[in-house]
Every structure is written in structure tokens, then in C-alpha cells.
């Protein structure tokens, strides 16, 4: 205790003791001490590393990025060959990670929302099935699930000749998922433009409708109009551009399918594993969000004369989403981070490509630093977006 301590140390002058017991001085000393310890640890590790690198004759720095990678990558969104540089190989890996994360996030939100609502359904059978699903898929390691789906593709599914037809033109076999797409036609580019134009139009109409509602109180049927514009505009464009109906359907030629789009077993297994695993967690998040809005809110909204659709849109969803969004974001980040498990089933994501680069060049520190940097960028940009969103939807207390 500060008061008794100086008397114990006896001969020390009071001014010196008071300096040591000055909280400000102490704070500075503690901080300098902590920084010095971290600095010393860093120096110790650095010097060891330098000595080891020199002894093992491993190059340092990111110079290797410009060298020829000389390994093939199974799947790539951009054109890549083994003659390209490590930098380009890493870009291919990062794009693959982004692809699986993006599709995974979309599918997970859809499936998770469905399961969350099903869990709360008044239908006993549906609710129990959803509960069983959530419990089982949450409690099994995602890596094990990935292995299972990967084995499922390679061992259980038949070869292309006995491929299972899911729907007309959609096949699954041990070469992955194969489905038909509309044959290339300029009409589809026009449709995309029409869709974007529709988005802009809906945004403008929404702003106008809000202003009008603030001014006059009249409600504009925004959702129906928006749906009409977003679906109608591309459809009209498609019809105007000659209504192409030709399909690029996969056909069995010899031992494999020709035409259509084929998705590799690795990608499908990774996507399936990640989506099924994360959706179980998302379902719990959605359920908690819906339950967080008390029944009184619904009743109050109905009693002031809102229609059921309006109750959902104006009262329930805005409140539920505020509870749902933060944990949902962390689940989406988990999915992105878990996509790094691709390395275990041979899908060339960023970690897998960087791992190959580490093995070839021996530059482990740079490789691991790159992996961490890329995931940090994903994480930090997502959390920045979410902070912005949270601020926007924050409860304004009056």
C-alpha cells in the first residue's frame, strides 16, 4: 500500500519514493518495460532466424514472386500456365479462395436462413429435423466433413458413363458436377446491362418513394415494382434481342462429358462441406435473431393497422437484422477462413498455392506472411464494412 511502503524502506528520501509511486511515472515505466520485452523477444527471434537462414542458404525477400512458378494449377479463373510467375500463381489462388468464399457465403445465408426459420416452424417434423441437422453438423469438425464429401465424390459416385441425372441436363459423377448453360449469345450481355440499369432505376424509385411517403404519407408498392423491373427489364431485353433458346448441354462422348460447365469434385466437396457446416451456425444466429423480437412488437404493429407484409418489413426484420448481422458476419468470416482447408483436399486456394511456393522456394517466412496478410485483408475489410453497417442500423434512442 502506497502509504506504508516508504516507511519500510527507511532511508530513502521522500521525493524519490513519491516518484516511484506516482501512477503516471509507473504507467510510463510499465509501458516501456512491456515494449522492451516484446522488442527483445522480436530481436532474439530475428537474430536466430537470420543465422538459420544464412546457414541453410535460404534467400530472403519477396524477389521470388517474379520468378517462374513452374507448377500447374488445376483450376483457374484467369489464364495461367506453369511458365507464369509465382505472383500470378498466388493471384490465381487468391481468386479461387474468393470464388469459393463468395459462392459459399451466398449459399450459406440462403440455407442457414431456411434452417433457422424451419427450426422455429410450428410443424413439429420440420422443426425437429432442422434441430437434428443443426446439432449434427455443428458438432463434427469441418475438415472431417470435407474429407467425407471428397470421398463421397471419388468413391460413392459412379463414373461419367453411369452419371446420376439430378435434373434435365444436370449430372453428378466422380468428375464433379456437370450442368448445361445457355449457349453464348450477345443477348445475355444486353440482359446483364438491363439488369444493372434496373438496379439503378429501383434505387432511384426507392429514394423518390421515401421522399413522397415522408411528404404525403402515401405508401408506394416498392417491392412489387422492384421485382417487376428487375425481372421484367432483362426478360424484355432477351425477347428484343431475338429470344435465344439454344443451350450448351453436356453430352457423354467416350469416357467424359463434352460441353456445358463442369465443376471439379474438389470445388464441389469444399463448397458442400463449408456450406453445410456454416449453415448450421447461421441457422442458430437467425433463430436467435427472430426470437429476439418480442411478440408484443408484432401485436402492436398489427393493432396500428399494418398489413402482415408491412409488419415483417417495417417492424420485425429491421429489429431482427440488428441482432443477426454481427454474429452472421463472424460466421461469414469463419467460412472464408475455413476455406483454407481446401489445401487438405487439393483444391488450389491461396493457402494451397502458397504452400507449394513455400515447398519449392523454401522461403517459409515470406509465404506464411503472405497467407496471413491475405486473410487479414479479407477479415479487416469485412469488419470495416460491418462496422459501417452497424453504425447505419444502430438503434437511434430518443
Amino acid at each position: 500500500m502506497p502509504q506504508t511502503q516508504p516507511s519500510l524502506s527507511g532511508t530513502e528520501t521522500p521525493s524519490k519514493a513519491s516518484l516511484w509511486y506516482d501512477p503516471k511515472v509507473r504507467a510510463v515505466l510499465y509501458q516501456i518495460g512491456a515494449m522492451a520485452m516484446v522488442g527483445m523477444l522480436a530481436y532474439y527471434l530475428m537474430s536466430n532466424t537470420m543465422a538459420n537462414l544464412e546457414r541453410q542458404a535460404i534467400a530472403t525477400g519477396f524477389g521470388f514472386l517474379d520468378k517462374q512458378a513452374s507448377f500447374e494449377i488445376g483450376e483457374s479463373l484467369i489464364s495461367y500456365s506453369s511458365a507464369d510467375t509465382y505472383a500470378k500463381a498466388l493471384v490465381v489462388g487468391a481468386l479461387n479462395t474468393l470464388l469459393v468464399a463468395f459462392i459459399g457465403v451466398v449459399l450459406t445465408i440462403v440455407l442457414g436462413t431456411f434452417l433457422g426459420i424451419a427450426r422455429l416452424s410450428s410443424n413439429w417434423l420440420l422443426s425437429k429435423l432442422a434441430a437434428i441437422y443443426i446439432e449434427i453438423f455443428q458438432d463434427i469438425p469441418v475438415l472431417l466433413q470435407l474429407f467425407f464429401w471428397y470421398a463421397f465424390f471419388y468413391e460413392i459416385l459412379p463414373g461419367p458413363r453411369q452419371a446420376i441425372t439430378l435434373f434435365q441436363g444436370v449430372f453428378v459423377c466422380n468428375r464433379g458436377l456437370i450442368f448445361g448453360i445457355p449457349a453464348a449469345h450477345p443477348a445475355y450481355a444486353y440482359m446483364a446491362i438491363a439488369f444493372l440499369a434496373g438496379c439503378v432505376a429501383v434505387y432511384l424509385i426507392r429514394r423518390w418513394a421515401r421522399q413522397r411517403q415522408d411528404r404525403t404519407g402515401q405508401i408506394f408498392p416498392l417491392i412489387r415494382v422492384a421485382a417487376a423491373i428487375l425481372i421484367g427489364l432483362p426478360l424484355i431485353t432477351w425477347w428484343l434481342a431475338g429470344a435465344p433458346t439454344a443451350m450448351d448441354v453436356p453430352e457423354l462422348k467416350g469416357f467424359n462429358f463434352i460441353g456445358g460447365v463442369s465443376v471439379s469434385p474438389e470445388f464441389t466437396a469444399l463448397l458442400l462441406g463449408l456450406v453445410l457446416y456454416t449453415a448450421a451456425f447461421v441457422a442458430e444466429v437467425v433463430r436467435a435473431g427472430i426470437q429476439s423480437v418480442s411478440k408484443g412488437q408484432t401485436e402492436a404493429a398489427l393493432s396500428i393497422g399494418l398489413k402482415p407484409g408491412q409488419v415483417l418489413n417495417l417492424v420485425i426484420l429491421p429489429q431482427a437484422l440488428r441482432v443477426i448481422i454481427p454474429p452472421l458476419t463472424s460466421q461469414m468470416l469463419n467460412l472464408t477462413k475455413n476455406s483454407s482447408l481446401a489445401v487438405a483436399i487439393g483444391y488450389p486456394d491461396f493457402v494451397s498455392v502458397a504452400g507449394t511456393a513455400i515447398n519449392q522456394t523454401g522461403q517459409a517466412i515470406e509465404g506464411v506472411a503472405l497467407i496471413m496478410a491475405v486473410y487479414l485483408i479479407f477479415s479487416l475489410s469485412t469488419s470495416a464494412f460491418m462496422n459501417w453497417y452497424n453504425k447505419k442500423t444502430k438503434l437511434v434512442e430518443r
Binding site: L125, L126, D139, A151, V368
Partner: protein, 365 residues
Amino acid sequence: MEDTHLADTSVDDIRPPRASIGAIGWLRANLFNSWFNSLLTLVIAYALYQCIPPLVRWAFIDSLWTSTGPECQAADGACWSIIPANFRFIMFGFYPYEEQWRPAIAIVLLVSLLIFSQYRRNWKKYLFYIWIGGLVIMGVLMKGGILGLTPVETTQWGGLPLTLLLSVFGLTAAYPLGIVLALGRQSRLPAIRSLCVVYIELIRGVPLISLLFMSSVVFPLFLPEGVSLNSILRAQVAIILFTAAYIAEVVRGGLQGMSKGQYEAAEAIGLNYYQTMRLIILPQALKIVIPPSVSILISAFKDTSLVVIIALYDLLKTTQSILGDPRWMGFSPEAYLFVAMIYFVCCFYMSNFSRKLERELDTGL
């Protein structure tokens, strides 16, 4: 509660209509309460009718339980024989065959310790010493070298003991570090706070696998010449560093749950920072965070399976490697389902425990 009390005395015992009680009433209320739900029930029932019988047929009726690999290849059903035939390898990996009773006892000891610790009446100070003693005995059993036990290199450890060791020891060792980080993050000293924030956010922002990569390829470079850590220990360090960041966030939640009055009262009776934390804040904050800590144990338990990627023989890797045996090739679903069942039982038990605890510890504040 009060309603029933009233009903007992004043209202005549009129039975509800037959259609709203009993099996029929239950069916009407839970499965057929609207045309949509009725349709849904029928669709689900049809789907289950399509899926369940073939699965049961595969798993139980046509299945083989004690055959050899080639016999399995000929059969239609599941080949569960892969489990008994390779059980000891799946469970213990490359641990010397004659010595496998030792890890078996270690597992039993650990599981009984965990079960013993789940009762709140056992949450006394001696529990801590029991755990220390238990962990030492487990270590001795696994490692050997004294008391006439043959020494077993850590490189030969594998299977379930390795999985349990990595997760339980990882959480135990990560907890103190996590508490320090959480306190650091709450600190008023900017340098210490930013160090902790950077550490926590950095670790939480990257996947565990990048840390495991680091442990397998970068850690050796950090050590001075001549010193080497084996790969299990390095993975353990990576798991500890990773888990600590998550524990720090959980503990921070507990610290933030403390009311300001607690700090002020502690200051008022003249306690310094360490006394305040040790005697007032942490005992209360840590109690709040027990249920989320169990969730972290669950994730740590599941996440240890990632050591497969740096080629440690944990439960998942031993299973995967028997599937490479030509005699047992093609029975991955059976083997993976078995391992999934082990993981599921453990995680389900722990998460139920966590939920129960949450209800019990909820003092309504």
C-alpha cells in the same frame, strides 16, 4: 404456476374436446394445423420414406461387422468391419502396440477428470490440484521413461490421445495467456493496450491453418542452432497461441459485464490493481464466462483435427491412413462416420453441459 392453483379450486373439471387432446390433438396441433403445414408434413414424410429405409438397409441389414476387406468388397451394405479390424491403430496411431494400455488409461483418466469437474459441488480449490496431478500422471503414462515404463518418443503419439492432449492441454495453457491478454486490452496504458489489440485481432483474423503452417515451417527457424522442438510440441504452441486470442475475447466479455461499482468499491477499500483483479473482478468475471469457455473447448477439440494438414497422426489422420491400405480402400464413408460419431458424442455432451451450466449460473442479472 398460479393459474393451475386457481384452476384446482374454482373451475369444474371439464375435459377439452377429444380432437384437441391425445395423439390426434397433438397431430392436429403440431403437424396439420394449416393447409401449408399439412402439405409440408406430407412432403417431408414422403422424403423420409424414400431416404430412411435404404439407409437402414445399407447401415444395418446388408452390413458386415466382422469380415475381411475382400469380403466387404463383394457385399452391398456398409463395411463396419473396417473399424474393429483397425481399431487400435485408429485410436492410438503408431504408439507401440504392447504399450497401448498406457494411453488407454490416460484417456480414461482424462475423461473421468472431465466428468468429475462438471459437477459444481466439486468446484473447490482441490480440483485444481487434482487436475495438475492428473495431467502429470497422464504425461508420465504417455511418455514413460520412469517407474519402469518404457520410454515412448512423442513422435509416436497419435490417435485419440493426441487429439485430446492437443485440445485439453491447449485450452489449459491458453487460459492464463488469454486472461493476461484480456486484461491488457482493458488496460488504460496505451502501449500495452495496443500490443494486446494487435495480437488478438491478428490471430483472430487469420485461419488456424496459417499458424499451423507457421509452426511446421517457420518455428524451426526461430530457434537457435542446435535446439529443436518436435512437431507435436510446435503444433501445440500454435494451438495455444491461437486459442488464447479467442479466450481473451471471451474473458473481455466477462470483464465488460462487471459493473463499474465493483472497481470503485475495490478502490475505495484500498486494493491495488492486482488485488482488485485477483480478489474482486476476475473471480466474478471468470464465472460468467464459463459457458462460453466450454464452447471454446468444443471448437478447440474440433480444430485440432487441422493438424492432419501438417501430417500429425491425430484421430482423423490415423483413420485417413488406414483408408490408404488397399485391403480397405473404398470404405471411407464407414470410417469417417465412425470418427464423426466420436467427435459428435464428445461435442454434443460438452455443448449440452455448457447450456445446462448457462441456465444454472444465470442469476437473472
